[in-house]
Structure formats: C-alpha cells, structure tokens
Symmetry: C2
Subunit: 432 residues, 2 copies
Amino acid sequence: IEEGDGAGIGRLLEGLHPADIADLIEQLNSEQQEKLARIAPDVLTGDVLANLQWDTREVVAAELDPAHLAAAIQELDSDDATLLIEELDDALRQQVLAEVPEENRAALESSLSFDEETAGRLMQREFVAAPDFWTVGHTIDHMRAAGDELPELFFDVYVVNTGFEPVGAVPVSRLMRSRRDVKLADIMEEVRIRIEPDTDQEDVAYYFEKYHLISAPVVDASGRLSGMLTVDDMVEVIQEENKEDLLALAGVNEAGLTDTVFESVKSRAPWLLVNLGTAVLASGVIALFDAAITQLVALAVLMPIVASMGGNAGTQSLAVAVRAISSRDLTSANARRVIIREMLTGTFNGLIFAVVMGVVAGLWFQNWALAAVIAIAMVINLACAGLAGILVPMGLKRFGADPAVSSSVFVTTVTDVVGFFAFLGLAAMVLL
Amino acid sequence: IEEGDGAGIGRLLEGLHPADIADLIEQLNSEQQEKLARIAPDVLTGDVLANLQWDTREVVAAELDPAHLAAAIQELDSDDATLLIEELDDALRQQVLAEVPEENRAALESSLSFDEETAGRLMQREFVAAPDFWTVGHTIDHMRAAGDELPELFFDVYVVNTGFEPVGAVPVSRLMRSRRDVKLADIMEEVRIRIEPDTDQEDVAYYFEKYHLISAPVVDASGRLSGMLTVDDMVEVIQEENKEDLLALAGVNEAGLTDTVFESVKSRAPWLLVNLGTAVLASGVIALFDAAITQLVALAVLMPIVASMGGNAGTQSLAVAVRAISSRDLTSANARRVIIREMLTGTFNGLIFAVVMGVVAGLWFQNWALAAVIAIAMVINLACAGLAGILVPMGLKRFGADPAVSSSVFVTTVTDVVGFFAFLGLAAMVLL
C-alpha cells in the first residue's frame, strides 16, 4: 500500500478516529512516514497531526506544504494549534505563520511568547465566562446564541466579577440541572488556585490531580481571565513528566521510539560517559588495595557483590524518594522521618544480607574472617546506600535541579566507592 | 495542637478543601494519624477519606467507628465509596456494610464482586442516559426535573437505543448550545470503545488518553449501559500505573511514604535477595579466572568498569523499552526495527567507550594489549546490554508477565556475566 497510492490510503483510513490514524502512522519507519506525507497529505489533518507524538510530527511536518500546515492549524483549538506550531523549526514556522490570517497569527504568537512547559503554552484562548449576577436561564440563552464563538468543548462556565477576574466556576452539568431563575453566584464553586501563564506545567498538573479538576481558568498579570486549561491536556502532561522521570533515572536524556540509532546514541552516550568517570573512580579505590588482592584473590571475586548490593539498595531508596518528591508527598515537614526510615531500612537489609552473604562466603572460601569482613562491609554499604538514595535527590531538589536527572549516577558512585573501600580496607586491616 | 483538642482541630481545618485537609493529615506520622482519628473523627468526612492515600486511609479507618465510616461512605458517589470500602479488612468491611441501608449495600457488594484494578471497581453507577429520539429541549427539561437523582457531576449524556445499549454520547456543553428542537441522534458522537466491568484499568486509562475522553460508558455482559467512568479517576490510575512501573524497575514491590521501616524492608528485601543470587553467579564467573587475576591484578581493578558500563547501557535500553511497551508504542509491527536499533545503539556506544577506555587503561597500566582486551570486551558487553534491555521486557510481556517487574535483575545478570566473562576470558587467552 505504501507504494504510491495516495488516494487508496485515504479511502482505507476513512472513518477511523484521528487517534487511530496517528497510531498507524507511528508504526511506520521514518522513510515511510515521509513518503506518506508526500503522497497523501490530506490524510494528515489537524486532528491527526495533533495526535501524533512530537518526533513523528517533526518528520511529517518537514515534508508538508506550509499552506497545508497553516490550514491544519486553523482547524484546531488554540492550545492544540500552539502545540503543533511550537515544534516546527524557525524557518518553517515563519512560513506557516505567514499563511495564517492576521488575527489568528497574533494569538498564536502570543502563546508562543510564553516559555515551554508552562500554562501559557497549554492554555486555550476560547472559554466561557459570565458575570456573577446572571441567572442560569440567561446564561444558557446567551450560550445558545453565541454558537460558534464558544470552544468546541467546555466543562465549566467561569463566573467573573466586574474586573473580569474569575471568582468561581459552575460545572455545565450543574448549570443544566438548576432552575432557570437561580443566580450563578449561588451555585458556583470558589476558584482556589490562581494559574498564571508562566506557571510550570508540572505544578498545573499537580493542582488538577489534587483537586480532581476538569478545567481551570488562567489569569493574566492583572488577574483578568485570559484562558483555560482542560484535563485532557493535563493527562498528556502527567504522562510526559512521568516518562521524563523514568528515563532520567535510567540515564536517558530524551527518547522517542522512532529515534534513529544516531539519536539514541546521542541521548545515551553523555550519561555513559559520566558513568565511565565514576567507574574509573571506583577502580581507583580498588587499585589502592592491589597488594591485598594479589595476596588473597577471593577479595577480587567477592568485591563486586558488596558494590552490587549497595547499588541496588540505593536505587530502591532513590526510586521511592524521586516518586515521593514528584508527587509532593515528601516535604520539609516529614523529611527527617523519611531520611531516618531510609537509613534504618538500609541498615536492616544490610544486617539480613550480611548474615546470608557471610555464611555463603565462609562456606565458599572456608575463611570465616573473610566472611566477617564481607558481612560488616555489607551493613556499612547498605546503610550508606539508603542515606544516599534519599539525600541525593533531596539535595538536587534544594539546589533547584531535577531530582530524577543524574541522581542515580551520584548514588551508584557512593555505593561503589563505599562498597569497595569498606570491603577491601577492612580486609587489608584484618586479614593480611 | 495534636495534644487532644479535637474541637480546635475542627475549627482550624474549617473552610479548607478536603484535598488540602488530606494532605495535612498525610504529613503526620502514623501514631499522630491514629490519635487524630480518635479525638477528631468529624474531620474525616467521606471527601477527606477519599482524598487520602490508601496507606493513610488504612491507618485512620482502623480507629474509626463503623457507623462513622458507613455515614462517610454514603456521602460519596458509588465509585469513591467502593474505593473506600475495598481497602478495609474483611471483618471491618462486614461491620460497615451492616450499617449501610439495604439498597446501597447491594450496589456496593456488586461493585466489590469485580476484580481489583478493573473498570467494575472504578465505575460509578450514577449516570445520565437518554433515548436517541429525544430532543435537546426534552432532555434538558428531564434532567432539571430529575434533580438529586443525577450524579453530582457529569460530562456526557449517553444516548441509548431501545435495548439500553449506549450508541453515542453528547457532551453537556454541546447539549447546552444546541437548539432545543435538535434530536440527540444528530449531535451525538459515536461510542467507539466497549468497556466491560472486567476490563483492566490500565486498558481503560489507555483509551481515555488516546481518545481524549472525559467520561466513558460501561456496559454489562448483555451490552446494556450499567455505569460510567470519569477522567478524574483515570488520572489517578495513570499515576498509580506509572508509579508501579518506576518502582518495579528499581526493585521495590509496593511503597507508601508512611510505610514503617519494617514495611520498607519487607517490600525491598525480596529483590535484594534475587540480586544477591545473581551477584554470586557473576562472582562465580570471576572465580573461574582467579589464576589470571593473581598474575595480573590490573584485571581486578578494571573488571568492574566493563560490568558497570554494561549495566548502565542495559538499564537505558530497558527504560526506553518498558516505557514504549506501557504506552503501547512498541508492538509486533515495529518490534524488529526497535530490536535492531537497540543492538546497534549498544554497539556504537560500545565502540565509542571502547576507544575512550582503551586509551585510559593503556595509559594507566602502560599495557596496550590489556587496553585492546578491555576495548573488545566493552563492545561485546554493550551490544549484549542493548539486546538484553529490549528482549527481556518483550519476553516477559509475551509470557504474560509485567515487563517492568524483575526485568532489571535479568538485564544486569546478563551484563555482569557477559562483562566479566568477555573481559577476563579474553585476558586469559591473550595476555597470559
């Protein structure tokens, strides 16, 4: 099918949901995606483009005519339009903007003026607002008359005061079941959170999750209602932030499934280089004790076990901490308690595996002094692992860095260095 | 404040959003939480309880009177009520259910009859349905008359046929802006997905995300509309599933921030035990080459570097794969391409770091044969790491297991064993 029949592809995809079409396109490799954009551009409507992942969108957008892109963008609500245009490269973006009529262009440019990953980029400029003295009946009649000026879909009517500041929100379902003569002020819910356009998207997603919001008003610097955010965009933000955390913990900078080998190497090599540095550092610790190893080769056999157990315990503690920080459960109020718990957890696990590993080492090498050394080193390393696992992300957070990025490198450096030093150092003192 | 003044606490928390009250309670340690439940049970309304995390809820529920719990549960919509009651222990649950009036009890018991983590547990039994021949005006009048029987909040009116099967959905905002004489059938959106009560919550969350749903109807075995799911519950499901993935990759079974040390040890020790087993296995590989190490102690110094780089590269590849599987981007259609990419990425990174590490080792030990050995071992191990990182989670998935759980243990076992074997084996052949 990919062999040139653009009209055939159009017929095949007819009747499918844009999200399903986008899914199918993502299964193709990038050459096929480029070819599709050339032979069947009409398949790539605004809705389909909005459903593609950013990396795929980049591939097909490069092949599309700026006029086609401009038309696709105008089909969409302003938040999706912004999403689409922000990822184009500068030259192409200018070309596309030039094709968009004046008034829409100004709105798009103002959205683009906000930083990436802020509420300003995500917000939709179409919203429904009503003064607080209006009645339910008046509001409904007004909306029905407004028709096409209203957003495609909305969930709350924002109630504004005379300064156009949002003071409350009435869910549409409540509007619908209230009597026509009830005043909006009597059925509205108070607006608790002021979201400004420069609020970080992670904070916004947190409010949505915490207060079970479906939509929220955005206000400008003077407090006037200027846009709205909806929960479907937040679901994407939450997924994106979770993905970033998971990949960052594993040492991957940014990844899409259609990345080429070159892009994958580029996103992973920097962290491998950092890891190489810390691995060489840990090797330096081993080199300090090369005489001991020559005398007792069992030390070389056993030392990776201490380091590996420490690395694992540290990663466990780190994952719990990163998760707790990103869900805002770990705060200064309970930090002390959690730190102590992590250290004790590490110590207890250390004691358990000190016994197990002591017995294994003693039986294996028939050397009970060596068994005692590995047991003690295990306790020391797992206690340090627990501490490092919680203190490193908390420290990064305090210095304004992302606690997920780079923390696992620091933690494994600690557990490798402490593990080798404790085990080999004790062995050199006790056994030789 | 915690020292006994229940009424004072009540006054302090007055006017706060239930989610904020729940947040404050979560900052307390479990003894304080228990005390709070005893001295100020009235603070713990249904809404506050529903906002607590499950581990905190367990703590306070144990201290509350069954009659209080039963009253709290009846304040809530049926989905939140189910959530609350499912986590009580069996004896307490029976006591609470006994306090709930007959008709509500039957509904709760039927929700509890579905498996955990399915749509049946999450769904709400209150929903709004209308036959397809009704007009907008008739529907609105009917809803206004129904009043309290309607759910607290709803976003779509489901359109049903004569068999009470959902055939479409009309967003409330569209209902509101359409003329009163328009038929529902003309403005409804087709229902694409049939969610049954035993559908896994992960699948449900995926549909919500993919189709940007705000609510979705649930049908029983005969296809009749029996409940609805809303996006706010899905946000929680998404967070929970992401948390599970991240913790599983780090080898933690289940974790809450208020866990005691004992609970933390219990959730982490099993994976540390597995890791110990694999670490001993890797040590066994080293022991095969103890003669070589005694002759050339530089081998002991350098060998952890090869293993560590492999472990890191494997973890990177694994994180990308687990993420792609859970977002359904990695399917059988593109598996081949992704596997090849991961292997090539590993190989290229291996080549880069082979050169870097070869130079470092050569300069450090002034031994260029040793440098060549570590370089070759690095390429072999990083290529295997890339392959293991993608094949292990795909294999687990194929056998019906969760690709996040236990995969990192398998991957690091591969990279440790291959790393030590390639490096020490080559060294024994070439250098000695």
